[in-house]
């Protein structure tokens, strides 16, 4: 059996195909950036998570430092318990504040971390104590209307 030009063309085709797949993985997708090599998990409880989804980014000062790994409802406290997979390169003090923020006016929701001043750092499995819930637009509007109605008419 000898090599033919047909084999060459099939080889070129396969190389182009895998090249396209590589382009999709590295240039279009975030294959390299999305998966942190080493992570540690941190928990936090929120009164209301709004529209937060699993895999939403966890940002501090605008930099992505982790991702939401799991969201579940805690029947003991009747609050939402969110678990983050944090990039092992970044450590945060124990009194860090976790708040649910929205990117833009109607954008997707993410977790914002404001580091505190504690000397101890959060470890694997630790819980963030101070949290701020998502802003629910209906409640905000309702409050605004209520305040306006309470104002004395002049």
């Amino acid at each position: 059996m000898s090599r033919t030009t047909l084999d060459l063309w099939v080889g070129v085709f396969v190389v182009i195909g895998f090249g396209a797949l590589l382009f999709l993985a590295l240039r279009v997708g975030n294959f390299a950036a999305a998966n942190f090599s080493e992570t540690y998990s941190v928990r936090a409880q929120f009164d209301n998570i709004g529209g937060l989804k699993v895999r939403a980014p966890v940002k501090s000062a605008g930099v992505v430092v982790g991702r939401v790994a799991d969201i579940r409802f805690d029947t003991q406290s009747y609050r939402a318990e969110v678990t983050f997979a944090m990039d092992a390169r970044y450590e945060f003090p124990r009194d860090t504040i976790a708040s649910i923020l929205t990117s833009g006016l109607l954008g997707e929701q993410y977790i914002g971390l404001d580091p505190g001043a504690d000397l101890d750092m959060l470890g694997n499995g630790d819980a963030i104590q101070i949290t701020q819930s998502a802003v629910v637009l209906e409640k905000l509007i309702g409050q605004f209307m209520f305040d306006r109605a309470a104002e004395p008419a002049n």
């Binding site: 059996m1 047909l6 084999d7 063309w9 099939v10 070129v12 085709f13 396969v14 182009i16 195909g17 895998f18 090249g19 396209a20 797949l21 382009f23 999709l24 993985a25 240039r27 279009v28 997708g29 975030n30 294959f31 950036a33 999305a34 895999r55």
Partner: protein, 262 residues
Amino acid sequence: MNGATTLLRRIGARVVEGVWRVGFAARFFMLVLLYSGQSLTRIHLTIREIYFSGVLSLLIIVVSGLFVGMVLGLQGYETLQRYGAAESLGVLVALSLARELGPVVAGLLFASRAGSAVTAEIGLMKTTEQLKAMDMMAVSPIARVVAPRFWGGVISMPLLVAIFSAMGVFGGWLIGVVFIGVDEGAFWSQMQAAVDFRYDIANGMIKSVVFAVAVSLIAVFEGYDCTPTAEGVSRAITRTVVSSALAILALDFVLTSFMFRG
């Protein structure tokens, strides 16, 4: 009364015929899988089929991918700039190509470009009794003719889908960044932030593999099962294109509802 009975009888015959064909197709599929060991050890047979269904489909896939991407770029920009979100053009182009348009459009093109050719070839071999002759020589036509064509299709189509999607993203970039002037950095970085490898691209590739199996099976089966006349072969080719298109669209709905529930 007599007319109604005849009608009922015809419908019944059609249904029985359809169920019969489905059963035969399932047995045929098992047989193809059983004999594919031989076709993979004699790899040059499969490579020849990859050449005919993959390499020769390259041109149509590249050109259509480019144009689909360019149209997405134009239409997406038109809508997005109204909301001041023109930088999200990359996200729109990449997500729609990776999740849906790539596998589906490339699958439809592949079915009509390569699937019909495979059906015609096998059908003509049956009509000219080449398949029977092979059987007489104790060469299994399924191992020698059908299985290499099936695997050729299954191997080439996912690669073609990847090429299609990549060309589409390139087309979107060409229109969005080069012609319209969307900021290049935002175009790529927003795309990379929104497109997830496992969720979007890997699911799209899984779709393409499923479509590849469906289209290749339909193509070889219609050829093998055709009525061995000139008219029968032409009918089989028509059926290949029609049923492949229906199978791709129906499977796409099922897979999407499993994969992208949100």
